[in-house]
């Protein structure tokens, strides 16, 4: 059974073509120009034994919020399947706005630096969050006016949560 995957690692998207091999545990895999002959075997739900070319590799795979984590010999790759990412975007629509004020990790809000109605400049600190004893200041993505503060002190917040809504002031 053949298949096609659009796989993103870091900023690099590559198409992977999965073509049947000689046996049920074999495949030919094309990534860009390269073609690999692959044998594969599931060890358990998270572990795959691979033979690629002449080389045996133990891989571990586990699902995260944004794609999967793949472990190969001490390196961890976050692999995102683009198809899925597009679906997520069309549902939430958040990922398309780089202008969001959202924490980069699960965190707790410790300080609010602005009030509703306040004029802010691009880069100005809006909210301070903390996780694991490290503070991060979330900054204004553009010049504008604080329309709404959507969080409170001590609130637990997640990546994707919009903490402050800013109405952009277009340069006239």
């Amino acid at each position: 059974m053949a298949g096609r995957y659009e796989l993103k690692i870091g900023d690099e998207v590559k198409t992977l073509e999965w073509l049947p091999g000689e046996g049920p545990d074999q495949a030919r895999v094309r990534i860009s120009e390269a073609e690999y002959s692959v044998r594969f075997q599931a060890v358990d739900d998270h572990q795959i034994l691979l033979q690629v070319g002449g080389r045996t590799v133990q891989a571990f795979v586990a699902g995260g919020a944004n794609g999967k984590y793949v472990f190969i010999e001490g390196g961890v790759y976050r692999v995102e399947e683009l198809d899925q990412a597009r679906k997520r975007k069309s549902r939430g629509g958040l990922d398309e706005t780089p202008a969001e004020v959202t924490p980069p990790m699960p965190a707790v809000v410790v300080r609010l630096l602005v009030r509703e109605g306040e004029t802010v400049a691009k880069g100005q600190g809006l909210v301070v969050v903390t996780a694991m004893k490290m503070e991060t200041t979330l900054k204004a993505p553009f010049d504008g006016v604080v329309k709404q503060i959507k969080t409170t002190l001590q609130a637990k917040v997640m990546p994707g949560d919009q903490l402050v809504e800013i109405e952009e002031r277009k340069a006239s």
């Binding site: 590799v57 190969i72 990790m105």
Partner: protein, 509 residues
């Protein structure tokens, strides 16, 4: 000789029956294990988010303290003492961090008739203040970094002293620590600004804005000595740990012995560490930290009045269990070995595994651990506080575990560490493992050129090597194929789960 003969709990010698561990994570687990070996009952404490954390599962009893907020749980002295009273614990081990170096906590334990497993409150207080500690040490003949011995509010005092020492200098908060409340100044014109900002930072962070000044040492090494002192005036040192590899003033890799010490320097520094312990009235396990400059001059930095994170490397090279020593000393027993009987062997390296994203400026990475496979094998020790399925909380330190390797020499230990890290699978959250691997593989580490600016100098703006990205993509797709087939029940043609009856042909396993 080998010092396996640290005192056996002989009949008649007092030892605690029950100890409360006022901490969480890997250090709580590590302390519980020694207690169990000694037949001591253990009481774990936990916050709301740690109900099923590893330290709770491993203890004999566990007491809930309150919400995740540290002030309501691991930092709450009243609740900790109440838990000790309720469970009948005779002593409290504070671990490191949280209340471990809080003289008020040590004092409150004493008032409540509970033994604090650590030094006397007065020693914690004196050594916690940098200018007091500097004065104690220079009186005892321990070399201190040139600079002021007293705090001052007068900028003139600072500029005169800086002039005398020559720039660059460093302004420090007397109450400081952990890299906070410090400013390096390389020119007189920057002094007033640095003085002001350092004072306000110290006021905010420590509630005490008093400052002093030291000569700034150019890319020194951080070398510390483990000491043990009993209540009968016996003090020994257990040799050094080199902790130069740091990020944001936090150690990330430690080793012993130090590649930088000659046996002569080692003897001098060991003697200075013992003198420092005696001068401060120290009892129990502690660490005397020194900076070592390029010319082999060493200077007192500070005393850590607790069990250090990196204590295991000393344990594996000396054969001593430091937690056992701490318990014996706290129970009033005398040290049973003399300095000349302690003979370290081989080489040990530790690295700290943090829940941080090395690809994104080491941002904290709390969350659920989906898959966990821990390394094992000859010369490998893992002190871990996590398990598969555990939700690493966002409220505490990002340390997950410590990987310690031991081998006959440095290069063998380094290779062993690389092998162990390559076998350490933690998926679901980001960890520093990929970053550590590249540090250990680097020529600079291999050659022992470890100084405190190591990370800034060699790994600034580090990005992971994506050399195996295609393999990762193949693994992703293969995993997906296996899953699809399992879920649709398409079994006959599928490479199903591995079974011993399947032939693997020419597979290399």
């Amino acid at each position: 000789m080998r010092v396996g003969a640290t005192s056996v709990a002989l009949p008649g010698l007092t030892m605690f029956k029950k100890v409360l561990i006022a901490n969480r994570g890997e250090i709580a687990v590590r302390i519980i294990r020694t207690c169990r070996e000694m037949g001591i009952q253990t009481v774990a404490v936990y916050s709301e988010v740690d109900k099923t954390a590893l330290h709770v599962l491993e203890a004999d009893e566990a007491v809930g303290l309150g919400s995740a907020e540290p002030n309501h749980s691991y930092l709450n002295i009243d609740r900790l003492l109440a838990a000790a009273r309720k469970t009948g614990a005779e002593a409290i081990h504070p671990g490191y961090g949280f209340l471990a170096e809080n003289p008020v906590f040590a004092e409150r334990c004493r008032q409540d008739g509970v033994i604090f497993i650590g030094p006397p409150a007065q020693a914690i207080r004196d050594l916690g203040n940098k200018t007091v500690a500097r004065t104690i040490m220079s009186r005892a003949g321990v070399p201190v970094i040139p600079g002021l011995h007293q705090t001052s509010e007068d900028l003139q005092v600072f500029s005169r002293e800086a002039e005398r020492l020559g720039y660059p200098i460093i302004i420090k908060a007397a109450a400081g620590g952990g890299g906070k409340g410090m400013r390096t100044v390389s020119d007189l014109s920057d002094l007033p600004e640095a003085f002001q900002s350092c004072r306000s930072e110290a006021e905010k962070a420590f509630g005490d804005g008093s400052l002093y000044l030291e000569k700034h040492l150019e890319s020194p090494r951080h070398v510390e000595f483990q000491i043990l002192a009993d209540s009968f005036g016996n003090v020994v040192h257990l040799f050094e740990r080199e902790c130069s590899i740091q990020r944001r003033h936090q150690k990330i890799i430690e080793e012993t012995p130090s590649p930088a010490l000659t046996s002569d320097l080692r003897r001098q520094m060991g003697q200075a560490a013992v003198a420092a312990a005696r001068a401060s009235g120290y009892v129990n396990a502690g660490t005397v930290e020194f900076l070592l400059d390029r010319d082999g001059n060493f200077y007192f930095l500070e005393v850590n009045t607790r069990l250090q994170v990196e204590h295991p490397i000393t344990e594996v090279t000396t054969g001593l269990d430091l937690v056992r020593c701490q318990l014996e000393i706290a129970a009033g027993q005398a040290l049973t070995f003399r300095q000349e009987e302690i003979q370290p062997r081989g080489w040990a390296i530790e690295c700290r595994i943090y829940a941080e994203d090395p690809e994104a400026q080491f941002l904290p990475s709390p969350g659920k651990i989906l898959t966990l496979r821990e390394p094992s094998g000859p010369g490998i020790r893992l002190d871990s506080g996590i398990r598969a399925g555990f939700e690493v909380p966002m409220e505490y330190d990002p340390i997950l575990s410590k990987l310690i390797v031991y081998a006959e020499n440095r290069e063998a230990a380094r290779q062993r560490m690389i092998r162990a890290l390559e076998n350490y699978v933690i998926l679901g959250i980001n960890t520093t493992i990929p970053f550590l691997l590249e540090v250990f593989k680097s020529a600079e580490f291999r050659e022992g050129r470890t100084r405190t600016d190591f990370i800034d100098r060699h790994f600034e703006g580090w990005k992971p090597d994506r050399g195996k990205a295609d393999l990762a993509r193949i693994a992703f797709a293969a995993h997906d194929r296996c899953r699809v087939r399992t879920s649709t029940g398409e079994k006959a043609s599928a490479p199903d789960r591995l079974s011993p009856w399947q032939t693997l042909g020419e597979w290399r396993l």
